[in-house]
Symmetry: none
Subunit: 253 residues, 2 copies
DNA sequence: AAGTGGTCTAGACCACCAA
DNA sequence: TGGTGGTCTAGACCACTTT
């Protein structure tokens, strides 16, 4: 009886077959991401070879999938030993899950005015960001976000339409998008990554925010993931720089 | 009109042979890195297949080498078109404890040029930030921070002089401030808080950074604490916005 | 000694893009 | 249509760690 060193990890969910329309590596990565999300830090993953055998793919394919998880800090490799679920890297401060949370943490009342909502086929760029196929339905939501009635940001966000059918009709003024996702689809954000760039506001956005054109501001690109590691949302928002700061903490290892 | 699509790149330096003691991919990556460093953004790299042929390695080996450059943002891949030297852009990450760590994590060499260093009595503002008494000695350090020789930020930082006597004389060009604190006083940063504001660069800072006045940029205010929760450092730095992003993750509770 | 991740090979087929 | 990057295969040998 072969007793392997990898019997600490629960059984791997094995799909009947991979969707031939999508890359095996991507599907495998999502499966592994879901596994990792449900296990505590330090849990040993199955070896690359055993995963490859189990899913009938080459080891190189497994490595490529795990590489992405390692790059995102979800797992940690140990030469000669194995691959482990990583300690969550935390930047604890305004650990806000959304604009609304963010504003409430600052003691302000969040607001949302819907500028437009529509469902369209995914372009190449959006498909890549949402990790769906080009042409799949995408809900594009444009909103003006405010705090205590003062416009703070022009928000554009996109969600996979196939996963949230009928979403477009549910988002109206002052509705919490994440509230809708939680109530209607029981989906919650587990992590979100942000990239902040420095910009000056263009005329259109400045007019919506009621500030001068050219105001130094932030472009914040945001990708939100659920428990399984699937992309729930990808968006780009412009925050006025005169009334908004980005605050975060760091804890060196 | 170019004859081939890949004649824009100069000849690749081909070593006599790879050092068998080191991984081919690593050596190849260094060669490619050197090439990329000498060419302007937008330059087309040789195709993966031609590099593989030239260096007598498998294409997968070339891809792995290029993957690392792409992950570090040095090159940009374009499906069906080729791989290009990227516009350099580094980002502030939440995992790094300092500017130097931040740059090193990205494979860049951090630099620091001391503009001025002096010891003065604390003003009301500085005393409050450092949690010392007004008039207590404060070391004020102005530095120009760079990555691979490219100026990235104008940094002003202040430390309590009473705690670090003689510090001013120890900080010279390319010296790690945190290294000095660790070696000489056994002080390490446990946490740091950051507040990022959107600004446009004033003439003086723009000149130091060698960018146009008015460039959209970041003002980052930073307070660092030691294990005991004492303030080690308070500073304000201006980061150029054209080559610098702020990246952070959030994990809602 | 056995198992692990790290590296590498020599192909293959695909989707994409420019001429 | 030819060249490109994207993906994948089915192996191989290595250095490393643990038993």
């Amino acid at each position: 009886m072969p007793r392997t060193r990898h019997d600490t990890f629960p059984a791997i969910p094995l799909p009947e077959a991979f969707d031939s329309e999508r890359a095996k590596g991507d599907q495998l990565r999502e499966i592994l991401e879901a596994m990792v999300a449900t296990e505590p830090p330090g849990t040993l993953l199955p070896s690359e070879r055993s995963i490859a055998q189990r899913f009938h793919v080459a080891r190189m394919t497994v490595r490529q999938a795990i590489n992405e998880l390692a790059a995102r800090g979800l797992v940690r490799r140990a030469m000669g030993t194995g691959t482990f679920v990583a300690e969550p890297r935390v930047s604890h401060s305004t650990t806000a899950g959304s604009f609304s949370d963010d504003m409430r943490q600052r003691g302000l009342t969040p607001g949302a005015r819907v500028i437009s909502v529509r469902e369209q086929p995914a372009t190449v760029l959006v498909a890549e960001r949402l990790r769906i196929a080009e042409g799949d339905p995408v809900v594009t939501l444009n909103r003006l976000r405010s705090a205590d009635g003062v416009p703070m940001a022009v928000e554009q966000t996109r969600l996979p339409g196939a996963r949230f059918p009928g979403l477009a009709a549910l988002v109206t003024d002052d509705v919490s998008l994440y509230g809708v996702l939680a109530d209607r689809w029981a989906v919650r954000v587990r992590t979100a990554t942000h990239r902040v760039s420095a910009i000056v506001l263009a005329e259109t956005d400045a007019a919506l925010l009621d500030v001068p054109t050219g105001l130094p501001s932030f472009l914040i690109e945001r990708t939100a993931y659920d428990e399984a590691g699937l992309v729930i949302e990808w968006g780009r928002s412009r925050y006025r720089g005169d009334r908004y700061d980005v605050v975060f903490d760091t804890t060196p290892d």
